[in-house]
């Protein structure tokens, strides 16, 4: 959809909702309408209708919009009940995820038990007809994969108390945990065939160290920036990188260097004012000594304005 059509939809919706109360329910309704209008405009544009005309026509086709809106305002007046709030924030269960989260840990646990059991009964030198000594290694791998997969999968799910993690980071966490568990598994199998003790320990040690390094790296780099509330704040207070950002709070509390600069400026200003005042008093007359004090107060007020309320350098 073109930018013109998008802007026209925004404008028409803003006009229509101008008198409506700014509640969550009304915002939801506006968002729902917008998505539907966008779909209709795309359909009209594909049929060859101009952008602005498509937006206007889509809007007109909705029908008696005003009476519907009035009705909706009446309907949604009591929206803030706990039940409505619960319904608003509820996250739906995803059956496929529930199945994955149940099956994979069970498969992983079975693989772990089977791996340890096979390693315990495996002969030092496998004879003909014996189970391959690599089978318990493979099963340990299956265990590590299952747990790693469930971890990555769970972190990407939105639940009632958790925001979904980005896919890359969640997969990284899953891989980190999988490698760590594979390392621990290798150490647990160190007494068994087919590798000598030292090789098991080296493989296990490498797995544990790499796993911990991945998890520690990802853990240390975690921020709030992808969470909806952090994004909302970012949108409210700044228009993105490189453009003007407004901050809440006192600049002096946020930026100690600015507070220190202000202190030094003030000290210099008053030292000058007092010195000039004394000199004026001695050489011109004591009545004149008040003049630098007035000048200092005015300058200090201007300094406060300049330092507290002007956009900070580098953010303009």
């Amino acid at each position: 959809m073109t930018m013109t059509a998008n802007l026209t939809i925004h404008r028409l919706l803003d006009e229509a909702f101008a008198g409506a109360p700014s509640t969550h329910a009304m915002q939801d309704l506006k968002e729902e309408l917008r998505a539907n209008l966008v779909a209709r405009v795309e359909e009209l544009e594909n049929a060859g209708v101009g952008a602005a005309e498509a937006a206007r026509r889509a809007f007109a086709e909705v029908g008696d919009f005003q009476s519907f809106l009035d009705e909706a305002v009446g309907d949604l007046a009591g929206e803030a009940s706990p039940a409505d709030e619960w319904a608003r924030h509820r996250v739906r269960y995803r059956p496929a995820f529930v199945i994955r989260a149940t099956v994979f840990p069970i498969v992983g646990a079975l693989a772990l038990v089977a791996s340890m059991a096979l390693a315990a009964v495996a002969p030092e030198v496998p004879g003909r007809g014996d189970v391959s000594p690599l089978l318990h290694v493979l099963l340990m791998g299956v265990f590590a994969f299952c747990i790693g997969f469930v971890t990555a999968d769970s972190l990407q799910q939105e639940t009632a108390s958790n925001y979904p993690m980005s896919r890359g980071r969640a997969n990284g966490m899953g891989i980190g945990l999988g490698v760590l568990l594979a390392g621990v598994g290798a150490i647990a199998l160190c007494w068994a065939a087919p590798f000598p003790l030292w090789l098991w320990l080296v493989l296990g040690g490498v797995g544990v160290v790499v796993g911990i390094a991945i998890l520690a790296g990802l853990g240390a780099g975690m921020t709030n920036r992808r969470k909806p509330w952090a994004r909302e704040l970012e949108q409210t207070w700044g228009a993105g990188d490189g453009t003007a950002k407004r901050h809440t709070g006192n600049r002096f509390e946020r930026d100690p260097a600015a507070a220190a600069r202000f202190g030094i400026y003030t000290a210099v200003l008053w030292i000058l004012a007092v010195t000039v005042g004394v000199l004026l008093g001695i050489f011109v007359g004591w009545w004149w000594s008040a003049l630098p004090v007035v000048g200092a107060i005015a300058t200090m007020l201007l300094l406060v304005t300049q330092m507290l309320f002007k956009p900070e350098r580098g953010e303009r």
């Binding site: 998505a35 539907n36 909705v62």
Partner: protein
């Protein structure tokens, strides 16, 4: 239905058909949702295509219907996770919605039979009278 009756314009018969259609908006919306979750414009489009463009239910009427159905627990709404073009609000029919749909379809069949019988009776009366 398409026969032109003297004194009754095309527009009047269209209005009559549209009114009939509008009277069953709730059931029609439930019917479209039985085939899968849909968002507002998809529901509107399904109805528009089924009606062949001759009759339509306005979107404003449909929004009021969604709200009513949701309030009565016959559908539940959830937001899609589209990353472009704004989030879409999808509707999904509940078990209660399916039950009401089946009941309404039963009632519709009975009513349709009664009306068919009555109209046939009337036609016969006119023919014989």
């Amino acid at each position: 239905m398409c026969d032109t009756v003297p004194g009754v314009s095309e527009t009047t018969s269209d209005t009559f058909a549209s009114d009939l259609l509008r009277g069953h908006t709730d059931t029609i919306v439930l019917a479209t949702l039985r085939r899968g979750d849909r968002y507002g414009f998809e529901i509107y489009k399904t109805i528009r295509e089924a009606a062949g463009g001759d009759h339509e239910i306005k979107e404003a009427t449909l929004y009021a219907t969604y709200r009513r159905l949701e309030k009565d627990g016959l559908v539940e709404a959830y937001w899609g996770d589209e990353t472009q073009g704004g989030r879409r609000k999808y509707y999904r029919i509940t078990d209660a919605g399916r039950a009401v749909f089946r009941r309404n379809v039963g009632a519709w069949r009975t009513t349709r039979d009664i009306i068919d019988t009555l109209l046939d009776t009337q036609d016969r009366t006119t023919e014989h009278g």
